[in-house]
Amino acid sequence: MTLTEQDFQLFLFALKTSSKYDFSDYSEKSLKRRLLKVLTDNKLNITALLNKIKNDPLFVEKIIKEITVNTTELFRDPQVWHAIRYAVLPKLKNNSVINIWHAGCSTGQEVYSMMIVLNELGMLDQAKIYASDLNTDVMEQAQKGEYKYRFNIGYLDNFDKVIKENPYNYEEYYDIPYDKYFTIDKASDTIKMHDFLRQKPVYKKHDLVKEGNPMYVKFDIIFCRNVIIYFNYNLQSKVFDLFHRNLYDNSALILGMHETILGSYSVKFQKKGHVYYKN
C-alpha cells in the first residue's frame, strides 16, 4: 500500500477537526509509516479511515494508541544511567523531596530503572515519581510492571552494567540479585516488578503537545527520551519551554542518546556528558 502526500494531509486534517488530537507538527517520516501500519492492520483504505475518524470516536482512541506506541527498555544506554547515578543523583542526596517526571513514559521500563537506581542509593523514599504518556494502554502496562524477559537477547546485561558494576572502578562489584526488584519466570518468559516499585509512581494521561505541567510541582529531574524525535522544530521548542519552566535551576533534563536541543532553547540548557542542566 502507498500513501500520497494528499492522503496524509487529509488524515491530519480529519484528526484535527474531528478529535482533540493534532499531529500536524509531528515528524513526517515516522507518522507516515505508522499511519500505513494502521491502515494495513485494520484492513482499511484511506477513504474508509477518514470516514471512521469522523464518525467513530472510539476508533479514533484506538488508532491514536496504535500510532503513539514507543519502545523502551530497562536501563537503555547504560552510560546515561552511569551519569544519573554518579553525577546527577549525588547532588540531590540531601533534598527532603526529589521530584522526577518521566514525560512519555511508554511501557515504563525507564521508570523502573530509575526507581532501582534510587533504591540502590538509598534515595527511593525521598523521591516522588511522576510518569505520563498520551497513550493509556502503554501506561496500564507500566503500572502492571510485567515484561518479556527475552533472555536470548541479553535483556539484563544493562542491569548488570548499571547496578552491579562501577564503570569508574572495575574492582568494585555489587552482587545485587535480580529478585531484589523483580521475579523472573523463565517458563512464561516474563519478569514481574515487585509491588514496592509498582505502587510508587503517579501515572497521568498527558499530551505534551497541548497541555501544561500535569503534576503541579516543579522537578529536579525530567526524563523525555526518544519522544521529541517524533516532533518537528516548532513542537520541540514548545516542549523545551514547558520543561524549562517546570525544572528547578540547575536541574537535569535527560533526553535520548541522539537527541539535542536546537533553536532558542539550546542556550537555556547546558550539556554536561549525557545530561542537560537548566541554566
Binding site: E28, S30, D157, H258
Partner: protein, 154 residues
C-alpha cells in the same frame, strides 16, 4: 553518504572511531534532525532507525525493529529513495538476513541506481542474494569495483 549496518545495540562507541581510521572523509553518528552535508558519511547509530527527511535532514526513530533489525536497512533505503529518487545510489554488501532487499527495490523503483556486492565475495550471502532476487540490480561488483565506481562519479 549514509551507512546502515546491523550492529550490536549495546555497543555504543568505538565503531565510528574504527571506521574513521580507514576513511578519507569524516564519519559521524548523527543526532536527530541533523542537516546532511556533502563530503561526509553518516553512520546509523546503534538501536535507532535512520531516516532521510525531505529537507535533507536526518530523522532518527526508536520504532520497533524491522526484520529483527534496528537500524533497519530497508527503512534507510526507502526514506532515502523517497527523498533523492533518481539521484540515489543504493549499495548492498555482505550480510546475514533479508533486510535491505525491499529497500533496494524501492531505490530502483524511484529511478535510483542499484549495486550489489558480488555474492561470491561475501562472507554471508543472504543479504546480497535476497536483494538480487527482488530487484534486477544495475551492477554486481566486487568491493574493489565498487570503490573504483564510487571514486569515478565525483
Amino acid at each position: 553518504m549514509l551507512l546502515c549496518l546491523h550492529r550490536l545495540k549495546h555497543v555504543r562507541s568505538g565503531f565510528v572511531e574504527a571506521l574513521s581510521l580507514k576513511s578519507n572523509i569524516p564519519i559521524e553518528e548523527p543526532n536527530d534532525k541533523d542537516q546532511l552535508k556533502p563530503g561526509r558519511a553518516y553512520l546509523a547509530p546503534a538501536n535507532y532507525h535512520m531516516y532521510v527527511e525531505l529537507a535533507n535532514r536526518i530523522a532518527l526513530s526508536t520504532d520497533a525493529p524491522v526484520n529483527h533489525s534496528r537500524p533497519s536497512i530497508d527503512l534507510s533505503f526507502i526514506t532515502a529513495a523517497n527523498a533523492y529518487r533518481d539521484k540515489l545510489i543504493g549499495i548492498i554488501l555482505s550480510g546475514a538476513n533479508r533486510d535491505g532487499a525491499f529497500g533496494l527495490k524501492t531505490v530502483a523503483d524511484k529511478g535510483g541506481l542499484t549495486i550489489v556486492q558480488d555474492p561470491k565475495e561475501c562472507e554471508v550471502k543472504t543479504m546480497t542474494e535476497s536483494a538480487m532476487q527482488l530487484t534486477k540490480v544495475d551492477y554486481v561488483y566486487s568491493t574493489d569495483e565498487i570503490i573504483r565506481f564510487l571514486s569515478k562519479i565525483k
